[in-house]
Amino acid sequence: MTFEMGEETREVQGMWDISTYNYLVDGAGIKLLVDSMKEKKIRGIKCPQCGTVYVPGPTFCRKCYIDIDDVVEVGETGVVMSYSVEMADVRGNPVDEFRVTAMIKLDGADTWIIGTISGIDWEDAEVGMRVKAFWVDNPMGALTDIDRFEAI
């Protein structure tokens, strides 16, 4: 190839301070989840037709396309579907201690949530390992009420 780039063309900078958007969301499922977390419980929604349990729960089953609202409690133990190891923070700076983060399918749920697994060496993390949730002392009804997971 003999292509040579031409001279730089004129460049003007555009700043786009994007307008405020007002998204309408149905927060029923996530509200149910964080409210239950205040009691150190994890609740989702079950489809009465196919039995799928969603955490957080949607308002309709995405397999059967029907409205659903049956509240069920799921376990605080579960299985690791996949994991990664954070070796840098979100800004790219190296972290002192590597952190294992995992997609965890809780017992009784068909869906996964993301959590940190503490107390193991990162090289010992495995797909399929069993883990248990540990709660913060004073849950406030927030996703961070689950402090961490540990291997069982």
Binding site: T9, R62, S84
Partner: protein, 410 residues
Amino acid sequence: MRNVGIIGVGYTPVFVSKRKDVNIAEMVSEAVDAAYRNTKLTPDDIEAITFGNMQTFEGVNMPHLWAVDHMRALNKPYMRIATGGTTGMSTLHSAYYHVASGLHDVVMAITWEKQSEGDSQVGLSGIVMPEAMVMVQHGMDLFGGKGMGAMGGGSTGAAAYQATSYLHHSGASPEHIDKMAALERSNAALNPYAHLRKKTSVADIQATPFISWPLRFGHTCPTSDGATVVILASEDKVEKLADSVAWINGVGCACSDPATGNFIEGQITDPAEQEPAKLASAKAYAMAGIKDPAKEIDMAEMYNGFAHQSLMWLEKLRLCKEGEAHKMLDAGALNIDGELPTNASGGVFSTNAIGASAMNRPAECALQIMRKIEGGHQIPKKIKNAVSHGWGGMFQYVTVTVLGDEPRHG
């Protein structure tokens, strides 16, 4: 339904990080003109145009309309397609539908990205903004220690979970990702239209830092500026207009529930499951009359923003058994002169002008079939059937195009 052939491909002269010498319209028109030059057609021959790039990435809306004259598209049917990472192939499929339906005989598909003019991360963030805002309101810990940062980190964070799951279920090792990365980067070194063109060893890849284990910096694609244009013609017109042709013999696409993104309603799908790839390829193979893809397909161009994905897709597209792709890699079968040359072009992993990335896959297959590859990555054996693949959306949308040296029968 009529048979449709690709009769010409046009690339921008280079795919690079920053084309500072041309603006968007000027850059894309380079590829449009290249397609005309390569086919000896003129704008008068083209009946309709499809156009694709990513939404938001350059911070502009409706680029197809404000650049209509640069696209030589005045006074013609003209539509924009945007399906995420698959945009390029969806734009090709749209052009294919135009011709196969009998509505038009000769159609141009234009795809591009000029990532240096925008902010890809903003484009990606916009996909999940409402969900992310709800999660933050309920305590999602993007920057802290609760493990949620990985999902906030864009594609690599989410792809890391896919890679770990794939390695576990396939029996491949992280070193196989290094090896696939080195192979594709070395292929790209032979391709004048690739972006990262440096012969690369496994040791070179292993010298790059981990971003999110098991993915290293050397396992990830670049951001590129570039455009790819393809001209399609009906079977009646091919003979009259073209000196060579690659036939589009099968198309398929499918979508599963989001494997990442829609956090506020629990997600079922494992990001390495990729059921849509199985559905879309089954549809495309059936249409093309391919019964045993592992035997009948001569080459593959897979969409791989990350190096583990080439191996994963070969299995999902039934080009080998599940868990066999890394063994084919070890046996040299995926090399340019191997049994199933895979990403001879260097793949998305070496060149990623996103809107064009899923178009470059079938475009490369077409050029391989027509034996019009420039540079050193022409596959030596004769290509009868080739499969190309696009991937994107919320980790769950897949497009597949099967191409052949002869039109499909029946």
